[in-house]
């Protein structure tokens, strides 16, 4: 398969990069010596984790670009524009740029890269942390200049770490709300279920183990069944039994509506963040201090005292002048 001859790069060596690499190596879909990850911060625990797996680490984004065919942008959304400006000149025709940043549109990335290449191949994906155990949920959308083969390649990679399918880009925010944030909902539920077990007398470790297994098993049943989850629920509820009593409590608490609200809130917030990014203004205070310092250390980057209409100064992420940042003269 193509995965065995190509190289993968990660801009960013945080949770996402670590999880993906761990999954890819477990799947055996790519050898770690063919993976390069770049990060300004070498103290991150994920950085040492990656190093232990045999990944090439560097502080140079350019090096990650040069050593890769498929390049994952695995940094926080507000860092993306800095990164694109930096690596733009190093992008070659062979590169497939895969952005994993929530809320960052393909068109915004293409707009940046079009300054450097006539047909930058960009894809956008939304995955989630369980890729680390090869049970990820990933969707991807294909950019203007990406070919069918590029999609297949990405799908091959991501399918090795879980479920992967292509979607229209406008659905990605909803996916973020559901399966992007989903593991957090599950962890919250599991924590509480374990509390319930402990309250009723179970030792904590056992309670956690059993709760997790219950959700895992239920999810697996659903994925392997033709039946509606409502029907599967009914199958568990014997008349007048324990489960139906418990479910009534869940319903009384508005369990279902809370979950709907959660997915909705996450999706809406993703859109908000995207909107803020598109507004091309984000205050430096919104960027974590250490990250900003390191980013500002990169050549050619500075905070502009850019006055805008409401008198606030801020970093311009994407502007019409192409470079996106006010450069030092």
């Amino acid at each position: 398969s193509v995965c065995h001859i190509m190289s993968v790069g990660f801009i960013g060596a945080g949770q996402l990069a670590h999880a993906l690499v761990k999954g890819f190596t477990a799947a055996g879909v790519i050898a770690t010596h063919r993976i390069t990850a770049s990060s300004p911060d070498t103290d991150l625990p994920t950085v040492s984790g990656l190093r232990k797996m045999g990944v090439n680490l560097t502080t140079s984004n350019k090096e990650a670009v040069n050593k890769s065919d498929v390049l994952f942008l695995a940094v926080k959304p507000h860092i993306i524009p800095f990164v694109l400006d930096e690596i733009g000149p190093d992008i070659e025709d062979r590169h497939l740029i895969v952005s994993c940043a929530a809320g960052v549109t393909i068109s915004s990335i293409e707009k940046k890269l079009l300054q450097y290449r006539s047909a930058p191949k960009v894809m956008r994906c939304m995955t989630n942390t369980p890729v680390v155990v090869r049970e990820g949920a990933t969707v991807y959308a294909t950019g203007t200049h990406a070919e069918v083969e590029d999609g297949k390649l990405l799908e091959q990679l991501m399918a090795s770490v879980g479920f992967c399918t292509e979607v229209e880009e406008d659905l990605i925010d909803a996916v973020t709300g559901l399966s992007g944030s989903g593991p957090a909902y599950a962890f919250t539920a599991l924590d509480a279920l374990a509390d319930g077990g402990v309250k009723m007398g179970l030792p904590r470790r056992l309670a956690v183990r059993l709760g997790a297994q219950a959700l895992l098993g239920a999810a697996k049943m659903l994925l392997e069944s033709e039946q509606h989850p409502g029907q599967l629920k009914d199958n568990v509820c014997s008349p007048g039994g324990a489960t139906i009593h418990a479910l009534h409590f869940l319903e009384s608490g508005g369990f279902r509506s809370l979950l709907i609200n959660a997915v909705e809130a996450s999706c809406i917030r993703t859109r908000e963040l995207q909107y803020l990014a598109d507004q091309e203004r984000i205050s430096p205070a919104a960027i974590k201090k250490t990250t900003l310092d390191k980013v500002l250390q990169q050549p050619g980057v500075t905070v502009g005292g850019v006055a805008n209409g409401n008198g606030k100064s801020g970093l311009s992420l994407f502007n019409n002048h192409g470079s996106g940042l006010k450069k030092k003269n």
């Binding site: 039946q227 509606h228 989850p229 409502g230 029907q231 009914d234 009534h248 319903e251 009384s252 608490g253 508005g254 279902r256 509506s257 709907i260 609200n261 909705e264």
Partner: protein, 280 residues
């Protein structure tokens, strides 16, 4: 069941209210001849509609019992002991006594009737009137399976007929007896929502009732789980899922479950009271 046997069967009703009428209509659309049906009531007020069906009417409960094989006791619960005391001497082992009185237990019925009487407790619901009832019956100690089968065949045109242990009758009351009212409440609220959004009331009500009817038929006839049907109506990001979310936020599921629970508990309470009351 044997249609020939049905046509020779004599059916009596003590009480001429809605339940009796609905059941009578269902029975007649089977093989039972109107000439073989008799109904008694103290006043003539409700007897007209039975006469229109060709059914004989009387003011004598005893006459109904003596002339019938199957007797439906369809009076108000507090009148059941009175009626049974009146007719008990005329009840023989050929009779099947079917009580539709809410809260009157089989134990009470068997206590008031001669020993070894075949007694069945039946809980119908209002839509029997339009042959779309939900009926659950429980057999008394001397009612055999054949008696149950006979009743089932008599009633099958009334709607859905099922048998169960007596314990389920109170639940059936909460679910389907009272459940009809819950549906009416929902239908009214649907219409009011439409009125709020600008539709004239009469039209809104008419559409609401057809919506409930249509959804109900689809649910029954498709054999699909309601959750499945619900999902099928919900297009992504569409109107239905928005509306459903609002319903979920209002805790409709929980309060509906609680409503069935309350009604069932009340049915049980009434059953206990009537049992206590009938002990002399």
């Amino acid at each position: 069941m044997d249609p020939e046997m049905d046509s020779q069967l004599k059916i009596g009703f003590i009480g001429a209210g809605n339940m009796a009428f609905g059941i009578a209509k269902g029975i007649l659309s089977g093989n039972v001849l109107p000439a073989n049906v008799k109904v008694s009531a103290p006043s003539s007020r409700n007897l007209g509609r039975f006469q229109e069906l060709g059914i004989a009417v009387t003011h004598s409960n005893i006459e109904v019992v003596c002339g019938s094989d199957v007797v439906f006791v369809a009076v108000k619960p507090h009148l059941v002991p009175l009626v049974l005391n009146e007719i008990t001497q005329h009840v023989t082992d050929r009779h099947m006594i079917v009580s539709v009185a809410a809260g009157v237990t089989l134990a009470t019925l068997e206590e008031l009737l001669p020993e070894n009487s075949v007694a069945i407790r039946l809980m119908p619901n209002l839509p029997c009137l339009v042959q779309e009832g939900a009926l659950l019956f429980a057999r008394g100690s001397h009612a055999k399976q054949e008696d149950g089968a006979l009743l089932r065949s008599l009633l099958h045109r009334c709607g859905l007929v099922e048998e169960g242990p007596e314990a389920w009758i109170d639940i059936h009351t909460g679910l389907s007896g009272s459940g009809v009212a819950f549906v009416y409440l929902f239908a009214e609220a649907l219409a009011e929502g439409a009125v709020k959004m600008g539709m004239p009331s009469a039209l809104a009500h008419s559409i609401a009732s057809q919506t409930v009817l249509g959804a109900g038929r689809l649910l029954r006839d498709s054999g699909k789980h309601p959750a499945q049907l619900r999902s099928e109506v919900c297009t992504p990001g569409g109107t239905t899922i928005y509306g459903l979310h609002t319903l979920e936020q209002g805790g409709v599921r929980a309060s509906t479950m609680s409503a069935v629970e309350s009604a069932t508990e009340r049915a049980r309470e009434l059953g206990r009271k009537s049992t206590a009351g009938s002990r002399k």
